[in-house]
């Protein structure tokens, strides 16, 4: 969980960096060029395969862990249970799998909406092409803009980002604990970074649909 988690944490940074280009005021040119590059560069394609693999691995191992742990609890549950914990994020920690399931659903929807269209979308029917002087590229920006002017989708995206923030709030720090990176001096730094990360990154993602909605709706 830890290693795949750390990979996905890194992935989110790159993903956000790309997405923020949606906000550049050039009618989507830089984003579309970037999207085209991401969709066709062989190295990126290789990493992208790895990324899918890690997401699936993270989900499968996580589900296995959840099942094992549920069975370890035994048949008879507590009638009264107070979970006191020294972690402030124990509430999320206990529910990582449920948060994960929501995130998984989000990823499927998200991929269907954008990634699938970018890769396999039928030109004309699903996406249009634009030309910035260096050959035709798919206008993913227009697709994004269309989606994010739809209020239910905006809400869906923002809510999912909150869920991701919860998942990361525990996951970031936990990943380091699991690989044994614990030190009286450095753990507080990791904890701080983890919290900053799990607020800023989802916030960065969430801001995009909100701005689009406010600007275009």
């Amino acid at each position: 969980m830890s290693l795949t988690g750390i990979f996905l944490i890194l992935f989110l940074v790159v993903h956000l960096a790309g997405n923020l280009q949606l906000l550049s005021n050039d009618g989507g040119q830089s984003f579309n060029v970037y999207a085209d590059f991401m969709a066709n560069n062989p190295l990126i394609q290789f990493i992208s395969k790895g990324n899918f693999f890690f997401i699936l691995l993270h989900a499968v191992v996580g589900t296995g862990l959840w099942l094992t742990n549920r069975s370890a609890r035994g048949g008879q549950g507590y009638a009264v249970k107070v979970t006191k914990a020294t972690n402030t994020n124990a509430g999320f920690a206990k529910n990582m799998w449920f948060l994960g399931v929501i995130i998984f659903v989000f990823i499927v929807v998200h991929l269907a909406q954008f990634w699938f269209q970018m890769k396999f979308g039928e030109v004309g029917a699903d996406v249009v092409m634009v030309n910035y002087g260096d050959g035709d590229v798919k206008d993913l920006y227009a697709l994004v803009a269309a989606t994010f002017t739809n209020l239910p989708f905006v809400i869906f995206y923002v809510v999912c980002m909150v869920v991701i923030a919860f998942h990361l709030w525990h996951g970031f720090q936990s990943a380091f604990q699991t690989i044994g990176w614990n030190h009286p001096k450095y753990t507080p730094i990791i904890a701080f970074l983890g919290k900053a990360y799990s607020i800023l990154i989802p916030l960065g993602f969430a801001i995009i649909p909100i701005i689009f909605y406010l600007n275009h709706a």
């Binding site: 742990n69 507590y78 009264v80 979970t83 020294t86 920690a93 604990q177 690989i179 044994g180 614990n182």
Partner: protein, 249 residues
């Protein structure tokens, strides 16, 4: 003070078990177990089966007592075993729910008594330093830093009660295992077989049906000896290191 107790009664491992409700009069100076003694005296005088619970030293050191009081292993006080919990922390008229430590690896023997021999088997898998009697060199021949000795002691303070397992949403025994791996691994005498120890103890823990750690830290909060989850990180470090570098397959 008058209290209502909801106590888990279960005849044996096969029985389904149920709650029974009792009224008991206690006073604030009693320990929690003495309050149960009072209940049992009255049950016996009515020729009913007393509520069985494990207990022994009643000084918070043997690790025998094991019960979940109002949803918390060893009750509401931090760093306190059930036997050291006193009734002054409860109020007149309280209802108290008492359950056994629950986990698949801790089958119920009777009422609040559970079988924790899984811990013994984990210890047998490697929780020791392989030194025969009479082989030792002088105790001062290997200096051990005061801080190292103190850290090792902090881990060694584990009383093997199983509250960590009872508290953990995953019924994981990582705090118990990591305390032993840390205690011995921190000392120069125990470093020699640190890798084997980590691998074998974790393997046995999995065999026994304990869950895996997801860093909830409920164990640390409920541990009557306040053993730190830093030990779990240390175990993870040791385990990962061992898994990658062990000479055996």
């Amino acid at each position: 003070m008058k209290l209502t107790l909801k106590v888990w009664r279960q005849k044996n491992a096969k029985d389904k078990g149920h709650f029974e409700t009792y009224q008991v009069t206690a006073n604030e100076h009693m320990s929690f177990l003495e309050m149960l003694d009072v209940l049992n005296e009255s049950l016996i005088s009515e020729k009913k089966d007393p509520v069985y619970f494990d207990h022994d030293c009643r000084e918070g050191i043997c690790g025998t007592c094991s019960m979940v009081i109002n949803g918390q292993p060893h009750g509401p006080m931090q760093g306190t075993t059930a036997c050291q919990l006193h009734m002054r922390h409860f109020k007149d008229g309280n209802t108290i729910t008492i359950e056994p430590f629950r986990a698949k690896a801790f089958p119920v023997v009777k009422d609040l008594v559970v079988d924790r021999s899984a811990f013994d088997r984990i210890m047998q898998a490697g929780g020791y330093i392989s030194v025969d009697t009479g082989q030792a060199v002088d105790g001062n021949s290997i200096p051990i830093g005061k801080e190292t000795a103190a850290k090792a002691f902090d881990a060694a303070a584990c009383i093997g009660c199983g509250a960590c397992v009872a508290a953990c949403p995953n019924a994981s025994a990582m705090l118990f295992v990591s305390a032993k791996v840390s205690h011995l691994g921190l000392l120069p005498q125990g470093k020699v077989e640190a890798k084997r120890r980590a691998l074998n103890m974790v393997h046995q823990m999995d065999e026994e049906g304990f869950g895996m750690c997801s860093n909830v830290t409920a164990c640390e909060a409920e541990c009557p000896k306040e053993i730190s989850v830093d030990n779990i990180a240390r175990l993870n470090r040791e385990y990962i290191g061992a898994a990658f570098t062990a000479d055996e397959k």
